[in-house]
């Protein structure tokens, strides 16, 4: 993009709306410090890049909050502050505008609101800013190495490789969707199954490499089935499985775990034995009518009455004889206490045994889990009646276990109640409870026996249909199940192979890309370092300090360091370069990176690029800018009068637009458009002469003298004289300056016309002044200078 016009209102140094034409190959803007010219650069920065370098590079960024710093201090409206640029983009006129709101901003392209300027297709990364702001110059050299690497990577055109890398990652993530991941899980599970199955070892290699043709061949060899597809294997495999499943069922029937009958007898025997002791212990605990409450009363009474003599009257109320009698009673009661303790323990054990039966009861009966499997397998092979009978048997066992538990619990509780009532509470007791409990115990044994008889009957019927001979074919069954899963997987998810192989190819592209990026970036970096070096040498011809290249440091985050050399010693420009050398190096980085490689911008903006440059460096810079101007629009802002003059002289052939920012106040910068210093002076002389008062005429006289000086200076610079030479002549006085102008090409008659305007009464004086201050003389002088300017410089 190149610019044709800029309008700024209420932004930074601009208050009132100002419109500047930029429609020229070279635009030169001169202004003293503080005249507002940098606000112009900042306006362009903010418009396209969203921030200004002064803020971006500041160490006090918190001072720049809320974007208030962008609004002109004196701006009161109407409307929002804005910056608008008209220009040419890809051969078409375009208007780009940004308004500053109280919060945020609004962007427009050709009057239409847009979220940002991305659609312009311009490089809008900071390191592609076509403008070199004053604050940026030092930072181009003095920046972090890791940041420099990232910028270089982008500047060297590696962005598109980065985008490809990111696109490949995105593609892999998107194509490995949920469905694919499920298939991948099934595939991995198959691979694991096959690796654990020695008989299927030949499948491992073709499966892991997803060679489907080889896989079909190997499956054919294992199964003995000739097939060209996974689908064709499936019915054959299912037939084989059915046959093996029958064998497996027979084995399961023959080997059914019937439960541990001996342990059941042992358990019930212990339970019965414990129950049998309870009544005897209850008798001992309450023998001879020992009333536990009474014994307790006596024990407490003994502790209270253990005072042999009354402390008040001295009478023996609790005699030794009484004490002896009570102690004998208590001693005799100890046996009853022991019996009570043992009774409690035994009851507790019985409680626990019966409670455990709820869980352990299944161990004494045929294995219900196996019965369920047998029933299911019978259903699978269509033996519905046999399956039903097995299920009934399973249900019966469940009912016996639960019923037995309930009976034992109830019978035990009843018997415990009987003992308590009869021996401890002297209440009516149920004499039949023990008999019933023993009946329940015996019932369990009987029930188990009946279950076993039923099973034997059932087994007899099962063996009529199912062979129970032979060993368990579990491994074989597993193998055929895996083979079926394998064939089903590939028959139903053939795309899985294609996607997986394509994803592997994406992996290969990523690997290639990684290696290429590393190799290519280093190559481009060397090339780019040579570009920087070339600019540096143009700016510093013959200098002992030379830029030598860019060193790349490997690591998790790559870094790029600048290198220089002086007198055979390697040096770090960041830490050792003088201000002037840093300035040169910054410009040497700016031109290749942000001008030569910045293809989308057809404009460069240099804001005071000669900050600490001497004359030679300045001249070299002008020549570089002249070369750039062959391909791009150049906008240069400067506070240096000498640089300004030289620019005008150097670019006169391009008829540059020249602006002067001559002062700035609360309404904004005062800007005049001029074609050079001399015409500007002529205009001012005309204004002063028009006023006609003596003071104005005196001022006009001084300006006329300056215009004579100016026309000579501009002429000599235009002729290629160095600024230093011209400056020396100017300082020597008008006599020398006119002499040099004559040597340079002013005709003797024109020199005579200029001399005629001066008071040369003293020919050796260096301070010739204007000969007269009358209106007529000054007008004539003004016309003389103007006509000479037109002949030689316009």
């Amino acid at each position: 993009m190149r610019f044709t016009n800029i309008i700024i209102r209420g932004f930074r140094g601009f208050n009132e709306e100002q419109s500047l034409s930029l429609d020229r190959d070279v635009v030169i803007i001169y202004g003293l410090n503080g005249s507002g010219k940098s606000s112009l650069t900042e306006g362009l920065e903010w418009l396209f890049f969203g921030g200004i370098s002064r803020q971006r590079l500041s160490r006090c960024r918190s001072d720049y909050q809320y974007e208030e710093y962008l609004r002109n201090l004196f701006y009161i409206g109407p409307g929002n502050p804005f910056v608008e640029v008209k220009g040419i983009l890809k051969g078409k006129p375009i208007t780009v505008k940004k308004e500053l709101l109280k919060k945020g901003q609004v962007c427009y392209i050709d009057g239409i609101t847009v979220p940002d300027f991305g659609r312009l297709g311009l490089n809008l990364a900071n390191y592609f800013r076509p403008m070199l702001a004053q604050t940026e110059i030092k930072v181009l050299v003095d920046s972090e190495q890791k940041d420099r690497w990232e910028q270089l990577s982008s500047i060297l055109g590696q962005d598109e490789l980065t985008i490809l890398r990111e696109d490949l990652i995105k593609l892999k993530r998107e194509k490995r969707d949920l469905e694919y991941k499920k298939q991948e899980g099934r595939y991995q599970s198959l691979l694991d199954d096959i690796e654990r199955m020695p008989a299927l070892a030949p499948l491992i290699s073709p499966l892991s490499e997803l060679k489907t043709d080889a896989l079909v061949t190997e499956i054919g060899q294992i199964t003995g089935v000739v097939s060209r597809s996974f689908q064709e294997f499936i019915p054959e495999i299912q037939t084989k499985q059915k046959s093996l499943l029958n064998t497996e069922l027979g084995h399961r029937i023959a080997e059914l775990n019937l439960g541990d009958g001996d342990k059941l007898l042992e358990f019930l025997g212990k339970l019965e034995n414990g129950i049998g002791k309870l009544e005897t212990l209850s008798v001992v605990a309450t023998r001879d009518g020992y009333d536990l409450n009474h014994l307790d009363f006596l024990t407490k009474g003994m502790s209270i009455a253990a005072v042999p003599v009354c402390p008040f009257c001295g009478e023996h109320t609790f005699t030794d004889e009484k004490s002896k009698t009570i102690n004998e009673i208590l001693k005799a009661g100890e046996k009853a206490q022991d019996a009570i303790t043992e009774l409690k323990t035994l009851k507790n054990d019985i409680d626990i045994s019966i409670a455990n039966f709820y869980g352990s009861g299944k161990d004494y009966f045929p294995e219900r889990r196996d019965l369920k499997i047998i029933a299911q397998k019978l259903l699978d092979i269509g033996e519905l009646e046999l399956a039903r009978r097995i299920q009934n048997l399973d249900n019966t066992i469940a009912e016996i276990i639960e019923g037995s538990y309930n009976n034992l619990s109830k019978g035990k509780s009843d018997y415990f109640d009987y003992l308590d009532n009869k021996y401890f509470h002297n209440k009516p007791a149920d004499d039949g409870s023990l008999r019933r409990l023993k009946g329940f115990i015996a019932g369990i044994i009987t029930a188990r026996h009946e279950v076993l008889v039923d099973w034997e009957d059932l087994k007899g019927d099962l063996t009529k249909t199912i062979s129970v001979a032979g060993s368990a074919p579990e491994e074989q069954i597993k193998m055929w199940v895996i083979l079926e899963k394998l064939c089903t997987f590939f028959a139903s998810t053939y795309n899985f192979v294609k996607i997986t192989k394509l994803l592997e190819r994406l992996d290969a592209i990523q690997e290639n890309l990684k290696a290429f990026e590393k190799r290519e970036l280093e190559r481009l970096l060397n090339k780019h370092a040579a570009e920087i070096k070339a600019y540096y040498e143009m700016l510093n011809p013959g200098d002992k300090i030379q830029f030598t290249g860019i060193a790349v440091k490997e690591g998790e985050r790559r870094q790029a360091a600048l290198k220089a050399e002086a007198f055979g010693k390697i040096m770090n420009p960041v830490t050792t370069f003088s201000e002037a050398h840093s300035n040169s190096l910054a410009l040497s980085i700016y031109f290749p990176q942000r001008v030569d490689r910045n293809y989308t911008w057809e404009t460069i903006i240099l804001d005071d690029p000669v900050q600490s440059m001497d004359e030679n460096h300045t001249q070299a810079l002008i020549e570089i800018v002249a070369k750039v101007s062959e391909n791009k629009q150049v906008i240069i802002l400067t506070h240096s009068k000498s640089f300004y003059r030289r620019l005008i002289a150097r670019f006169r052939y391009l008829k540059p637009l020249v602006y002067s920012f001559f002062y700035n106040d609360d309404s904004g910068p005062k800007i005049s458009l001029t074609e050079g210093e001399t015409p500007s002076l002529i205009t001012k002389i005309r204004e002063e002469v028009a006023k006609g008062d003596p003071l104005s005429l005196e001022t006009a006289s001084t300006l006329l003298r300056k215009s004579i000086e100016s026309v000579c200076v501009e002429f000599l610079l235009d002729k290629g004289y160095s600024f230093k030479t011209v400056d020396n002549k100017k300082n020597a006085g008008l006599k020398d300056l006119l002499g040099e102008a004559e040597k340079g090409g002013f005709s003797p008659s024109d020199i005579g016309r200029l001399r005629s305007l001066l008071d040369i009464t003293n020919p050796d004086s260096h301070a010739w002044s204007i000969a007269d201050t009358t209106v007529g003389f000054l007008r004539s002088g003004m016309n003389t200078v103007n006509s000479i300017y037109d002949v030689y410089l316009k």
């Binding site: 490789l161 490809l164 696109d167 995105k170 593609l171 294609k498 290519e520």
Partner: protein
């Protein structure tokens, strides 16, 4: 002669079977082009 872009140079280094995947993408840096190519290559013929 116009210098090759880094992407074009990278493309030249790839073997043919990998070129097949990103060939169209090189001319048009659109993710959709890459994704469509992937789908086309995995579609049942």
């Amino acid at each position: 002669m116009e210098e090759k872009t880094p992407l074009e140079s990278f493309y030249e280094t790839l073997e043919d079977d990998l070129k097949e995947i990103i060939g169209d993408y090189i001319n048009n840096h659109e993710y959709g082009v890459l994704s469509s190519k992937f789908d086309a290559l995995t579609r049942d013929k």
